[in-house]
Symmetry: C2
Subunit: 171 residues, 2 copies
Amino acid sequence: MHSEVVASRSADQRDSRESRNGTPQLDAVSLAIIEQLQEDGRRPYAAIGKAVGLSEAAVRQRVQKLLDQGVMQIVAVTDPLTVGFRRQAMVGINVEGDVESVADALTAMSECEYVVMTAGSFDLMVEIVCEDDDHLLDVINKRIRALPGVRSTESFVYLKLKKQTYMWGTR
Amino acid sequence: MHSEVVASRSADQRDSRESRNGTPQLDAVSLAIIEQLQEDGRRPYAAIGKAVGLSEAAVRQRVQKLLDQGVMQIVAVTDPLTVGFRRQAMVGINVEGDVESVADALTAMSECEYVVMTAGSFDLMVEIVCEDDDHLLDVINKRIRALPGVRSTESFVYLKLKKQTYMWGTR
DNA sequence: CATCACTGCTGCGAAATCCGCAGGGTTCCG
DNA sequence: CGGAACCCTGCGGATTTCGCAGCAGTGATG
């Protein structure tokens, strides 16, 4: 017990501050806490504390801070199919003019689950979650293509989701 | 209070069974529970019960069942950048021969966060999460392209993640 | 119609967890 | 040397979780 991270606590603490790019830097203990919560988001603080070598209260404070900072969030994730969304697609988009403003417009659409600006033959890639084919068609043809600046789109309808994990940092 | 779902409980219960396609069907109450947990994965059962019109114990039993069935999971999700993964990419893949076996091989790779079989000009799309450029290059050129059956790949390196939600069912 | 199995909800007490707070140690300044 | 900023620990009290017994509705069976 308490075998984990004991060395040089002072150094670890220091780099939980902001780094130059504005994103908070995480020490090994916070990373270990995140790993615990990636396995089970409801794991008790005391159990986490035992695993990472910290008291219950300390874990609680760190978790709260990570949540406040937006470093992580603890949520239920579902299989879209079982929740009634039968059609999903990835859409690659090419833009003329300001990519960011198109991205913002997409972000505002509730059907867009995932919006990312990319390098390559697409400027944007968007994941769409819909209830059925009609819905999907409507979103792609009527809403996305209608956005000012959208030059072209290419769709990849999902046939089968093989893997979906949230294990960043657990490697 | 208790204003939510009171009508026809018998009907609701019935369709929490399996439907023809093997995926469990969810009633309105379970959906409401999931929505609560999508807002906060650690919300107490009693609070959820108050919101959906059920007792604490009933909520607890339903949540446990949803977890057991694999309908949802409660986990911590993070911003990859703050956890030390500085390069991400979407990779479109074309396959000759058995697509499924290639998909399985990709699924087994820890760097592949997301694997989906698609219709369109790619057979597979894969999201890769890496520590740096070298790591990314290695995964794409050495590991993915080396897979038997992989005919070609096209990469889309992430420049900026604009949106990432887990709000299925919360619409 | 009686009965049995099954499922899901409720209520309740005991155990475990969460929460707020006071106190102590360390580091970093002026 | 103070003082401020952090982060940790320990500790009660409030809250939550947990397991279980009991009950009601449904469907199948004879």
